[in-house]
């Protein structure tokens, strides 16, 4: 812009400072309108997003429990896992999915679990084969781990393959890549140890809750492999 020559005249009266009330009010109105819009878009998109989440959970159950052709939702009531139909479940009641093969034999359960990751909550689903007492598949449903590092918990197929025949007892342990010696260990991801350990922790916590319930229902002892 062109430079004005300096003139020795009284400068025009400075614009009056707006009052603090006006400033606060402006922000409040902006915040209020923004809030209204945010809530509206949330309510408009919620049904579609919920439907997608339910559908993607169903799809994931088939993937973490190989050979599954039909599934049934179960809740834990009065010391037993009980099958529930749509709408029978209380709103906050935790549930797991039983998977059945083509001859209607029960293969095992798909269990959804969540816990703290490196940045935000990680939500995952894993399949537990109740006959072989092994974890047979794991899929991360939701996470905001660091792109390029922590997101390998679902992008790195070698890491995901750790969970294809994993002994959950006495508990799962993450070890440095290539140092796996027992069938209850997984290879952690180099550069994303926290995310790898978070996955292990989430599954261990969930196992402590659900495995006794599963085996109480089916009448197996589960603390050791020999029985």
């Amino acid at each position: 812009m062109k430079q004005q020559p300096i003139q020795w005249v009284k400068p025009p009266k400075a614009e009056q400072e707006p009052s603090s009330t006006r400033l606060v009010l402006t922000m409040a109105v902006a915040g209020f309108l923004s809030g209204l819009l945010t809530i509206s878009i949330y309510l408009v998109t919620l049904p579609t997003i919920t439907a997608y989440k339910i559908e993607s959970l169903r799809q994931a159950v088939f993937r973490v429990l190989p050979n599954t052709v039909s599934i049934q939702e179960y809740v834990y009531r009065d010391g037993q896992l009980r099958a529930v139909k749509d709408g029978e479940k209380a709103k906050d009641e935790a549930s797991i999915y039983g998977g059945f093969d083509i001859r209607q034999n029960m293969l095992g359960y798909a269990i959804a679990a969540e816990g703290a990751g490196f940045q935000d909550t990680i939500r995952l689903l894993y399949g537990y084969d109740k006959v072989q007492k092994r974890i047979v598949g794991m899929e991360v449903l939701d996470s905001r781990e660091t792109p390029g590092l922590g997101d390998k918990i679902y992008k790195d197929l070698d890491f995901v393959a750790n969970f294809k025949a994993l002994n959950p007892l006495p508990e799962i342990k993450a070890v440095k890549k290539g140092q796996r010696t027992a069938d209850n260990q997984i290879d952690a991801i180099t550069g994303a140890t926290i995310s790898s350990v978070a996955i292990v922790k989430i599954i261990n916590q969930s196992n402590a809750l659900w495995l006794p319930r599963i085996h109480a229902t089916h009448g197996h002892c589960f603390r050791s492999l020999s029985c």
Binding site: R22, L23, M27, L37, I41, V44, T45, I49, R144
Partner: protein, 218 residues
């Protein structure tokens, strides 16, 4: 650099400058975070570019229409609220419409809020110009950004996967250059494109150089 004039050829210029002469990525080197992070495929680049287009154009239109009511002491906070609202709208919309791509883009959709191209256009242009010109300016900048993302995403996908928009280009004998879709590939391809742009600019006569644009930051 900034003009209040609204002659038609000036309007055209406000639009076209963001696309090419003042391209936000290739010339101003702004918005590097999404540029490097989500351009591992052409599809991700396209969705990111369109999301930014929506946020930038919407914010510029709104900021330029309410600029007279916003005291200058709180203007930046108000711009951020406006931008964040548009980002929330596009975040939920993408989650509902294209959940798979939304999952791929992950944290980078909410991070559009802090894309300095957007706040930069509000402070440098929309807060001083008419709605008409601000929208043209925003559309120009976002198309320039979209073009840059697509160039990077397209090149990286072609080199790193041998495909474009998921369509296989070279058949099964092509050995993908995997590093191109990994983070280092973003730097390599961007560096090469910037090299080309600067070489292209240096070849042109001096008059086309605009010294105001020689300060990369952000």
């Amino acid at each position: 650099m900034l003009t209040q004039n609204s002659a038609p050829d000036n309007a055209y210029d406000e639009f076209i400058k963001g696309v090419w002469r003042e391209n936000p990525v290739f010339v101003q080197v702004l918005g590097m975070c999404p540029t490097l992070a989500v351009t591992n495929s052409a599809m991700n680049a396209l969705v990111m570019g369109l999301a930014t287009f929506f946020v930038l154009t919407g914010s510029s239109a709104l900021v330029s229409s309410v600029k007279d009511w916003i005291p200058k002491q709180v203007r930046i906070s108000c711009y951020v609220i406006i931008i964040a609202t548009f980002v929330t709208v596009i975040d939920y919309t993408l989650l509902a419409l294209v959940p798979k791509i939304h999952k791929e883009l992950g944290a980078f959709i909410p991070l559009i809020v802090v894309n300095c191209i957007i706040l930069g256009r509000q402070e440098a242009f929309a807060s001083k110009n008419t709605v008409y010109l601000s929208v043209l300016d925003a559309m120009g900048s976002s198309i320039g950004f979209l073009f840059a993302l697509l160039a990077l995403g397209g090149l990286r996908e072609i080199l790193g996967v041998g495909a474009l928009f998921g369509v296989n280009l070279f058949g099964e004998h092509y050995e993908p250059w995997v590093i191109m879709v990994l983070p280092p590939g973003g730097f390599l391809v961007l560096g090469l494109i910037l090299l080309f742009f600067n070489w292209f600019k240096a070849r042109k006569p001096e008059k086309s150089l605009n010294p105001a644009l020689e300060t990369p930051h952000g």
